[in-house]
């Protein structure tokens, strides 16, 4: 089906812009249309539990903005049904594909045999149109996870849903009630068109760029010299400090459990109850900053894995991450669950309430942040020495260091600069960070010093011991890209340019990621846990998706105990498509 380009017909002064951000009440349309499965609103909150599941991938029609659009869904729901499994159970999932194109389902964060992982081309051949595939595996973990398509842009079109695995031994942090809160981003624009637009003009959806008016304001406040100086590096490097999200609320409607902000998903509680909220970010491109004004959030699990509880006001959730919090609403009133996009271009919103139909005040969006010099250059102590970041920009020194000396790489805050792969000096990489910062106690752009206690990776302390108790080998990879050309890669090589990363079965490696871009990337390794480490190498928490902020270095251990071919990629959907993907082979 050809989806018309909403962008070309929408005038900025028309009310539809507002409607796009807020959405309209409703969401799923109840009309059956030739060939499309019937979508019902109640399918949105459907729960399937047990050991055997029959799922069907198909087209459905949704209406989030007043315009009907084609979506791709599991069992006709966006999101698909909540799958509840039990730790230790063998599950069988028969997935039928009624689409006219190949499809797949990947069980994100679940440890399983490679042929059950659902990545077409690496795990299996995908599910042919009209065909089916039966996934069988034993679930040896518990927690909050999710599933999504790993075929083309089907995830953006609605093919995702939550998974909850109940622990055999009971919850470490019991609650009286729980809700899954799945956040996602919807666009009326055909994702193919959206991706093509990013290739042509990577800032097409950025409506927060610095303007002449901003410059004039800065000159009057700081003087001409200061205003020019603060822009000098950005302009020299041809980087945009407002580049926080490639796709913004300009074309996205942000959803909470498939409901627009206007239709207000509501989760019920009784006063005094401990309510566990299982947050899942099922968005294709959007980082959400989540808070519930009036409630402290007790974070008890991250990426499905229990962590020592920590109380926060707010947390940032990257695409594919999950976070479990327990709240204890003490008043008999409604509370707003507010999840603003990192670029502050919109929000998802829902309500916790003692009764249906209640609403609480919805906070205003925070001011739109701009990236800082630290986001560009990493370790700020190096900034004083004459802007080293710029030297690495273009042309620059062509030397690539052969050694892998950890001490010389600034891993432990050494003064050595990191080495870059030769391919990073090619035309498809627009910047390199020579002195990345290693601290994890940074909540990220837009959350620093906002007066609220915000979760950081430094707060995560696993409740259990690490799988990889030692490290035998260190692998360093840089997250690279070119914003203007809209090309993304590891070590300057797109997926198609790169050889697989090979791990010996049974070896335990440390992967050190250095983010040489100005964007934040959630990096997901399939098949094996990413055991996040503090800068000094202490195990922090077990994760399936690790966020690396601009100019940051993050390390984690991987126990290569899962034989097979695995995907390793940025979980921003269009970054993955544009090359930020590697195959990992464990043999």
């Amino acid at each position: 089906m050809k989806v018309p380009d909403a962008g070309l017909r929408r005038f900025p002064w028309s009310p539809s812009r507002r409607r796009f951000v807020q959405g309209v009440a409703g969401g799923l349309v109840t009309v059956a249309c030739g060939g499309w499965s019937r979508a019902r609103a109640d399918q949105r909150d459907r729960v399937l539990s047990g050991r055997a599941f029959d799922l069907s991938i198909g087209e459905t029609i949704v209406d989030y903005t007043g315009r009907k659009r084609r979506a791709v869904a599991v069992d006709g729901g966006v999101p698909g049904p909540l799958l509840r499994w039990r730790e230790g159970d063998g599950v069988v999932l028969r997935v039928r594909n009624t689409l006219a194109e190949r499809s797949s389902i990947h069980w994100h964060g679940i440890v399983l045999p490679a042929d059950m992982d659902g990545v077409p081309g690496l795990s299996f051949m995908g599910i042919e149109p009209g065909g089916s595939y039966t996934y069988r595996f034993t679930v040896n973990q518990s927690g909050t996870y999710w599933y999504h398509s790993h075929s083309r842009f089907q995830e953006q079109l609605g093919l995702y849903g939550p998974i909850v695995v109940e622990p055999r031994a009971g919850e470490r942090h019991p609650a009286d009630r729980e809700h899954v809160v799945l956040l996602s981003d919807w666009t009326d624009i055909d994702p193919e068109h959206l991706y093509a637009t990013l290739k042509k003009q990577s800032d097409a959806y950025n409506f927060g760029k610095p303007t002449v008016a901003d410059f004039l304001r800065d000159t009057s406040e700081q003087g001409v010299a200061a205003a020019l100086a603060s822009r000098r590096m950005w302009n020299t490097m041809r980087m945009n400090p407002s580049d926080l999200a490639d796709v913004s609320g300009h074309v996205y409607t942000f959803l909470m459990n498939g409901a627009t902000p206007a239709s207000n998903w509501t989760g019920l509680f009784e006063r005094g109850e401990r309510v566990r909220l299982r947050f899942v970010n099922g968005a294709s491109m959007t980082f959400f900053d989540v808070r519930i004004p009036g409630l402290k959030l007790r974070v008890v699990a991250h990426d499905g894995q229990d962590v020592e509880p920590v109380h926060v006001d707010e947390f940032r959730l990257a695409p594919a991450e999950t976070c479990d919090v327990i709240v204890e609403p003490s008043d008999d009133r409604a509370y707003t669950i507010f999840a603003q996009a990192m670029d502050r271009s919109g929000y998802a919103r829902g309500t916790l309430a003692p009764r249906a139909g209640l609403e609480a005040e919805v906070p205003a969006l925070d001011p739109r942040p701009l990236l800082t010099m630290g986001d560009m250059m990493g370790a700020m102590d190096h900034v004083a020495h004459g802007l080293p970041g710029t030297k690495g920009m273009e042309g620059g020194c062509g030397a690539s260091m052969a050694g892998m000396d950890r001490a010389a790489m600034g891993h432990a805050g050494g003064d050595g600069r990191v080495a870059h792969a030769a391919a990073e000096y090619g035309p498809l990489v627009d910047m390199r960070v020579d002195t990345p910062r290693t601290n994890l106690d940074d909540p990220g752009i837009g959350l620093r010093g906002n007066g609220r206690r915000v979760l950081t990776y430094a707060d995560l302390h696993s409740s259990t011991a690490p799988i990889a108790t030692d490290v035998q080998r260190e692998i360093r990879l840089h997250l690279t890209g070119h914003m203007e050309r809209y090309v993304w890669s590891f070590d300057g090589r797109r997926f198609s340019d790169a050889e697989p990363l090979r791990l010996r079965h049974g070896e335990r490696v440390r992967i050190v990621l250095v983010n040489d871009t100005m964007m934040t990337h959630p990096i997901h390794l399939h098949g094996m846990w990413s055991e996040l480490e503090s800068p000094d190498g202490t195990f922090l928490a077990r994760k399936h998706t690790v966020v690396v902020q601009p100019a940051q270095q993050v390390s984690y251990r991987v126990s290569a105990d899962a034989i097979g071919r695995w995907a390793y990629h940025c979980h921003l959907l269009y970054h993955m498509e544009a090359g930020m993907f590697r195959e990992v082979v464990v043999a």
Binding site: E394, V471, G527
Partner: protein, 332 residues
């Protein structure tokens, strides 16, 4: 499971050294370890029931504190053995992780084309872009003309075919214009080389050229293109273009641009003289209704120099001209 007795033993060992809070945690962890090892469910329920009562804030604080206290002990352990082999001894229960069995059906290797097809992922996909930067009505004083400037390209991230054309049409015919077909190759992060051909059309003699140049994004976001041309009879030419986009707001864009043409020798038939031949400086204010549709108005000052100006006068053209333009910028 093997790690469980170890964890218990460690917990017991560390307990005297740690704070009372740490003991609580260690004991709790040991209890969890027991669960994961499949200990009796009676104990589990007892634990759950205990934890299931409303959790007072103090207990949470104690937990957090205990954790903080436990960590240094754990770190001290790690320091005894040489880094990076840390965490060999951990007070926490084992992760309960079970490595998955190998795939029953390993995936075969595929040719890149099949891989792209099966994965639905193609970072080498070719894509196209058409930008009609100027499509405008020019008030020439004596009447109206239609001017255009087009850039279209197709290809991958590195190699692209580029079609460029610009010119002006009035009185029912193209007065002057050119079409270029180039191979554009990414040579540096913000720069591409271009090699191709150009054909001039319009009044005077049509000339054909071989073109080579660079185009890209200069510091401070100037879009720059510099192309040298070699034609027949030892003719040479140079064209430099630069554009800037100043955002007055997110949708009002002020675009100054400069274009300069120079030639190596006189070509009376084509009405171009050697040296700097002409320059155009334009200022256009557009409103981006969408990224692909932006009406604009502006002014352009065009001037011919030297012998080019003489040739122009001879043909009744004004060599120095300020003209108002109204048009639309299209991109798709």
């Amino acid at each position: 499971m093997k790690a469980m007795p170890l964890a218990l033993a460690t917990a017991a060992l560390l307990a005297p050294a740690a704070t009372a809070g740490a003991q609580v945690v260690a004991a709790e962890h040991a209890s969890h370890a027991a669960h994961e090892a499949g200990a009796d469910h009676g104990a589990h329920h007892a634990h759950a029931a205990h934890a299931g009562t409303p959790v007072p804030q103090e207990q949470d604080a104690a937990r957090a504190h205990a954790h903080g206290a436990a960590m240094p002990a754990h770190d001290a352990d790690a320091h005894e053995s040489s880094a990076p082999a840390r965490g060999a001894v951990d007070t926490r229960p084992p992760p309960g992780h079970v490595a998955p069995p190998p795939p029953a059906v390993p995936m075969h290797d595929m040719a890149p084309a099949e891989m792209v097809e099966v994965m639905g992922m193609d970072d080498r996909a070719r894509w196209s872009r058409v930008v009609l930067d100027r499509l405008e009505r020019v008030d020439t004083g004596s009447g109206n003309a239609l001017a255009w400037s087009l850039r279209a390209d197709y290809g991958g991230d590195v190699d692209r075919v580029q079609l460029r054309s610009e010119g002006e049409r009035s009185e029912g015919r193209v007065q002057h214009g050119d079409v270029e077909l180039l191979w554009s190759h990414a040579v540096a992060p913000f720069w591409n080389s271009a090699i191709g051909v150009r054909r001039d059309v319009g009044s005077g003699v049509d000339r054909d050229w071989v073109a080579f140049g660079v185009h890209g994004l200069a510091p401070y976001w100037f879009e720059v293109s510099a192309t040298a041309y070699v034609g027949g009879d030892g003719r040479t030419a140079l064209r430099v273009e630069a554009e800037y986009e100043a955002l007055l707001t997110q949708r009002w864009v002020l675009q100054p641009r400069l274009e300069v043409d120079a030639y190596g020798k006189d070509d009376p038939a084509a009405r171009t003289g050697s040296g700097l031949a002409d320059a155009a400086v334009g200022l256009r204010l557009r409103y981006e209704v969408t990224r692909g549709f932006a009406p604009y108005a502006g002014v352009e000052w065009a001037r011919r120099f030297g012998r080019s100006a003489t040739y122009a006068r001879a043909h009744g053209d004004e060599p120095d001209d300020v003209r108002w333009v109204v048009g639309v910028r299209l991109a798709f």
